[in-house]
Amino acid sequence: MAKGTLYNKVWNAHVVEKLPTGQYQLFIGLHLIHEVTSPQAFDMVTEKGLKVAYPERTFATVDHIVPTQSQARPFQDGEAEQMMGAIERNVRKFGIQFFDFGSGSQGIVHIIGPENGLTQPGMTIACGDSHTSTHGAFGTLAFGIGTTQVRDVLATQCLAMDALKVRRINVTGRLKPGVTAKDVTLFIIQKLGVKGGIGYAYEYGGEVFDAMTMEERMTVCNMAIEGGARVGYVNPDQVTFDYLKGRKYSPSEEKWDKVVAYWGSFASGPDAQYDDVVEFKGEDIEPIVTWGITPDQSVGVNDRLPAVGKFSDDEVKTVELAYRHMDLKPGEPIKGTPIDVAFIGSCTNGRLSDLREAAKVAKGRKVSPKVRAFVVPGSQQVKVAAEKEGLDKVFREAGFEWREAGCSMCLAMNPDKLKGREISASSSNRNFIGRQGSKDGRTMLMSPAMVAAAAIEGKVTDAREFMK
């Protein structure tokens, strides 16, 4: 088993007890909740006659079901309105801090945690959402959990957990111009597969990660789960500390040196031992586009779709299903694949830097008349910051719709959905069958700049051609 890694240090600092089952009781430092996976958990707490043990350590927002055309209440969708009512009642009843529409801090749960300084190095974090791995960018252990586990965290501030193995993923050298964090994370998943991370925490490191901003690190950690790893993290460094300084819930200035020393102490040491180490070269990574129904079915934008015979016996059936569903053929180039919808947003790529990258491509150009294109900021704060820079105008003038904050068409629980066989270029994280709201709909995942380029050309395009 791994030794001396951030994973081990954070884990050890939070173990309450070894349970009779062999699992460990782990204290959860930060619990984030949203409207979809929490109502049943609160009901279970009430039914069992329990209380919320540490209400000050849980923070709530609404993101999955919220309409992005307008946040006005009541929502047109009665079920969404009912769900909204449930979280409003529960946060009142149990005394939980709620980032609702009026707070100015509503947004996707994995975007508002970091931007408010709630997510801090050395913490354990849990949320009833698989993309909780995002918070690992700060050197935390952040677990996606189910609703019954949300109940456990509410009632006890703890989870019963099994220890994971740790795989170090080094990406050395530098990225080529126009290659983004999204391409790095899609590349790693392509190489290690969607099952490769089962049983592992992924520690991302090397020169490429050292050079990344916090927002870029969040994009990579966000998709650890798409590679099968429940937890992904980057060791905290000066970039992390600088990001956190002055945020709403960050520690105050006078304690800063002490706090930074504490945070830094969790980083994996030079003598850390891993269960596995893999290495990739930053120079080998191209802008990546998914062509299939799992996030590892992807190619470089200038590559052709792979022959079925190139895959292992284990993969062939999924590959054949993917080609049928996507109506694409082996040997075809991915570049030039026509799109119907362009979606920029989500917990993967809905932050300010993502919108900036997409806006650079969109500026002074027009969305293809065949394409329905929209931009959904990840949070109210991202929206305000983007508007301050005039990004909303850039997008609107190019023909993109500019929306309110939410998860939107990443999982299509709100009115933003694909229709029929529509195919999207999407900056989100999952290309599963039916994911974007139509059971026959199709998704191609790519970076925000690549989505913007596809929106303009009406087909998959190498965004670097727009950056010359």
Binding site: L19, P39, I65, G128, G146, Q157, K195, G228, R430, G434
Partner: protein, 200 residues
């Protein structure tokens, strides 16, 4: 809470690797604020056409009605953490899942509901799926204590199961709240020791 030592019954096969939780339960059904109706929805979009007519999915075939074991392949339950996925399978009638491998969060959610997720090799699973397709009346017993899957009363197959999950199931402590609550004082000590809890 009941001990889960043996699961007996017939089995239903759902073939394919990487069956994600969006396929197990489409997100639109997550808008319900209770799990009560989830048993109506497992694999909904794969089972029914646009008019709601069954398309011949194993969950709708007469020979698999009443099955309590589910036979699946690799990385079953990948993707979203939605507990609605195991809830929908459980409320349809699934009491145990045998597969080649499971996604982490899904398997954890199953344990929290008292549903064992146990694994066998690829050849074994192909054999099991072929067997239930050919002879759907075959009676199985999943024995967690002995770590065996018995088919037709005689064939024994060794299964792998995560040891802590097995302990939790056979000792009836799979619903972990009680165990965690019992250590409330120790939890408070850990909270006190963590500098960030007290605001540094």
């Amino acid at each position: 809470m009941s001990k889960v030592i043996k699961v007996e019954g017939r089995a239903v096969p759902v073939e394919g690797n990487d069956i994600d939780t969006d396929r197990i339960i489409p997100a639109r059904y997550l808008k319900e604020i209770t799990f009560t109706n989830m048993g109506k929805y497992p694999f909904y979009d794969e089972r029914f056409d646009a008019e709601g007519r069954p398309k011949g999915h194993p969950f709708d075939l007469p020979q698999f009605q009443g099955a309590s074991l589910l036979f699946v392949n690799q990385n079953f339950g990948c993707g979203s953490s939605r507990e609605h996925a195991p809830q929908s399978l459980m409320r349809w009638g699934v009491r145990a899942i045998v597969g080649e491998s499971f996604a982490e969060i899904f398997a954890g959610n199953c344990t929290m509901l008292g549903i064992p997720t146990v694994t066998v090799g690829r050849a074994e699973m192909e054999g099991l799926q072929a067997l239930v397709k050919e002879r759907p009346t075959t009676a199985f017993t999943l024995d967690l204590e002995k770590k065996l899957l018995l088919s037709g009363g005689k064939e024994h197959l060794k299964i792998e199961v995560h040891e802590s999950k097995r302990n939790a199931l056979i000792n009836g402590t799979w619903d972990s709240t009680g165990l965690l609550l019992a250590n409330g004082d120790k939890t408070a000590e850990v909270a006190k020791r963590l500098p960030y809890v007290a605001g540094f």
